[in-house]
């Protein structure tokens, strides 16, 4: 029946609109983290750009729901490790030469990335999650961490990504071995 289809369409629009609103409201506190990081970081524009990207990805994941929704919180928490580490390292009195700050900041990005990768992997293995969860949680964690590492430059982001990948490997191997048929 036409009118029933129309009612169903309208109900579907309301359902999606409510989910978008809930996702925006639910993830809004993260904007406070972005604002604080923007205030503390040496390159606020890059930090805020990554923050906006992280917020957008988080809202989309929360709106979509299911497994992806469950990736948001662990992703943000894991990403806070490199973010806080790098923002603290920025405040340490040392010499940073342009985009290459090999002494404190890049190691902080890499170590933060490793810790974040290990944390994400432990959550993924514990929940025996599928690839979509792994991608979503990694994206959120990397974008959160990149808010801090962006102030070090491309080298910082590369250090974060490498560290994160290295931290993720043991968990992925464990998951692969557990899923392999006996």
């Amino acid at each position: 029946m036409d009118s029933t289809d129309r009612i169903e369409r309208r109900a579907r629009v309301r359902y999606e609109a409510t989910r978008v609103r809930r996702a925006l409201i639910g993830f809004a506190p993260v904007l406070l983290v972005v604002a604080i990081a923007g205030l503390v970081a040496k390159r606020p524009s890059a930090t805020v750009a990554f923050g906006i990207a992280m917020f957008s990805v988080g809202v989309v994941l929360l709106w979509y729901g299911r497994d992806l929704k469950r990736a948001v919180l662990p992703g943000v928490v894991a990403g806070l490790v490199p973010l806080v580490l790098v923002l603290c390292a920025n405040q340490v009195d040392h010499v940073c030469l342009g985009d290459n700050c090999m002494m404190v900041c890049i190691p902080a990005c890499t170590v933060g990335g490793i810790v974040a990768g290990l944390a994400v992997a432990s959550v993924g293995v514990r929940h025996r999650s599928g690839p979509s969860f792994w991608f979503a949680v990694s994206a959120v964690a990397l974008l959160t961490g990149a808010m801090g590492c962006a102030s070090v430059g491309y080298a910082g982001i590369a250090g974060l990504a490498l560290g994160f990948g290295a931290g993720l490997v043991p968990g992925l191997v464990r998951q692969f071995l557990a899923d392999r048929p006996a």
């Binding site: 009118s3 029933t4 009612i7 169903e8 309208r10 109900a11 579907r12 309301r14 359902y15 609109a17 409510t18 989910r19 809930r22 709106w63 979509y64 729901g65 299911r66 929704k69």
Partner: protein, 177 residues
């Protein structure tokens, strides 16, 4: 509706709350006939019932993400539909009062108005019953404007908290703000 279908609906609405869009159409198809029937039986007017059922469906799906898995889905959905019917009945009654033409339509009379009023009172009392003794006392004292044994600021704060909890209980029971 049998127990099996109830369980199916509960599971489908829970999936919808989690974001599984494939549950949307089945939930709609299960809910639409009983909700339309309920609206027809409450409003006894085809156009008003169709309006109420449509608005109820929109509200049900708007609130689907808040669905509490511990509660059965059908009574939850019917409570929302019943609320829409009451709202439409109240509007209709006000319209009639404004036009002073209440006697012309046999489908709506004082008895129906009384029924709506009684339903609302019962709903409010049920929500009030969910509160603690002290919250109830605070709200009753507010209603009767009784002087309490506490200072004005403290009473105001207690009243605000009690009203918040009453709203919460109402929302839990009927899924409504």
């Amino acid at each position: 509706m049998d127990t099996n279908q109830d369980a199916t609906l509960d599971a489908l609405v829970a999936r919808l709350a989690d974001g599984d869009r494939s549950a949307f159409t089945p939930v709609f198809q299960i809910l639409w006939p009983p909700i339309l029937r309920l609206c027809m039986s409450m409003l006894k007017h085809e156009a008003d019932a169709a309006d109420a059922a449509q608005q109820a469906m929109e509200k049900i799906f708007a609130r689907a993400s808040d669905y509490d898995r511990a509660r059965p889905a059908m009574p939850w959905a019917l409570a929302i539909a019943a609320w829409e019917c009451r709202t439409i009945a109240r509007k209709r009654h006000r319209r009639r009062e404004a036009s002073k033409d209440t006697a012309a339509d046999p489908s709506f009379d004082g008895a129906e108005d009384e029924l709506v009023q009684r339903d609302l009172t019962r709903a409010a009392l049920e929500a009030l019953g969910q509160l603690s003794e002290s919250d109830r006392e605070t709200l009753v004292a507010t209603f009767w404007d009784e002087a309490a044994s506490v200072s004005g600021a403290t009473l105001r704060k207690r009243r605000e908290r009690a009203l918040d909890r009453l709203r919460g209980a109402f929302r839990r029971l009927y899924g409504l703000d």
